[in-house]
Amino acid sequence: MIPILKQWQGWSQSRRLYEQARQDAYPRSWVKLCRHLVGQGDLARAAEAAGEGLARFPHSRDLRDILRHANRLALGEEIEGLWAKARDGREPDDFRILVETYLSCEEYDEALKAAEELMRLRPERPEGSALVGKILLRRFYEDRVASDARRGIVALQDALERDDGDVESHLELARIYRFIGAVSKALFHLYRALDGDPENNEALELQEHLIDLPLEEEEEAQLLRAIEESECYVPPHEAEQECRKISDEEKGSLIRDLGRLSQLNSVVRAAFVSHHLTLIAEGGETRTLNDPDEDPLCGIARGFRKAADISAKRMGIGAFQSSVLTAGEFVLQFHALGPTVVLVESSDRSMVDVIREECFNFVAARLRVEEEPVHA
């Protein structure tokens, strides 16, 4: 009787949390629901709920972690089976499926290990290098780390040395070169792809976009470095895209939420710095500044985000997300979303976790608030 009662209680709580999550303007209720479902051992529903929450709050790191974790647990046995099959059969297709499975859980390092194992077992075949290239480029599109793009391009060129007629590798190179603005190289690989498959729809579509773009004036390394350092890179073929400014409604909600953040126990001040808007809040009162340098806290927020982002990328740990810095009696928490950063100054180390959770909610409750094109 007791297990049935417990099951019913769990189900009833899930239902209550789900109703709460659907109405909450912040992702915290979705996170609670997912954690509850994971605790109940219902990984499939936890993954489903995390997916639904992410559709509404695409920048929630907690929901993303839960989705990845739930998928990884659910796929554990499958991955073992795929590894065994791939190693025994040494078939490139089996390794490709294994790589895709890892990528579905965002496990890039494991995906790379699988692709490198294929390279080791079948050094004469191009598929291993091609897979390494695709994984690294996928990671580059997400994090904009120049070394990923460089290594990805080298791996694809290596695949083409083994099989010069591989249309997919030529197309992959055409895509990345178009993305970074190396138009002449993109055209070269595009025509090689069309030589192999003249009817390829994606290649034909790519050709239409590429022929109108001006040829690059800089070397590949310079283009990549500029993208890595850029706060918000927009590729040349999307240059006509308008900057998304912060609407009055968004500004109102930012002012309100930052004010609330500054009222948390032990919080001294909170700052919000983006390209178009700088806010500073203290004791629930939020002020708009014309320039981040008007207040040292905003200057620190902007300067730290840039330094941390470039250092993290070059150290090989990806794009900067957040930082907790303790300095004497103060704790500074930085939370970045693209070029935007929120900085909260507090005076009690024991409150770090509570404030971090609220900052995650603050950041995830809004989409990237603006896009400013910066061209390589």
């Binding site: 993290a312 070059r314 990806g318 009696e329």
Partner: protein, 119 residues
């Protein structure tokens, strides 16, 4: 000091540890193959220098600790006085659990006293 880092890098999720001077000179390192010690030390030195410069704009004292989370990993920097202990981890690590190990390593290195800078 080698022993302290050797023990630290056996903790699951930790990719390596390195002790550097604030200006980015390697004192001792135990890093995974994919991490280059000179690059890591230089970049840590750079981010710490810039952070200290920024902190001086406000009313803050010296930095005690920095935890930097990025999409593919985390870095914990402990200020040991005349040098920094830098621990690099993967992105999935639960720092609440691992933190005690890092703090204990920092304490042991501090107790070893004056550091001799090589390289």
């Amino acid at each position: 000091m080698h022993e302290v880092l050797d023990e630290l890098v056996t903790v699951p999720g930790i990719k390596g540890g390195i002790v550097v001077t604030p200006d980015g000179i390697v004192v001792i390192s135990r890093l995974a193959n994919e991490l280059d010690e000179d690059t890591t030390a230089a970049l840590v030195g750079n981010v710490v220098t810039q952070t200290l410069k920024l902190l001086s704009l406000g009313r803050y004292e010296d930095m005690d600790r920095m935890i930097l989370s990025a999409s593919r990993g985390k870095i914990v920097i402990e200020n040991l006085g005349n040098c920094l202990l830098v621990v690099v981890t993967n992105q999935f690590i639960n720092l609440d659990v691992t933190f005690l190990e890092i703090k204990s390593a920092a304490k042991r290195i501090r107790q070893l006293g004056t550091l001799t800078v090589s390289g």
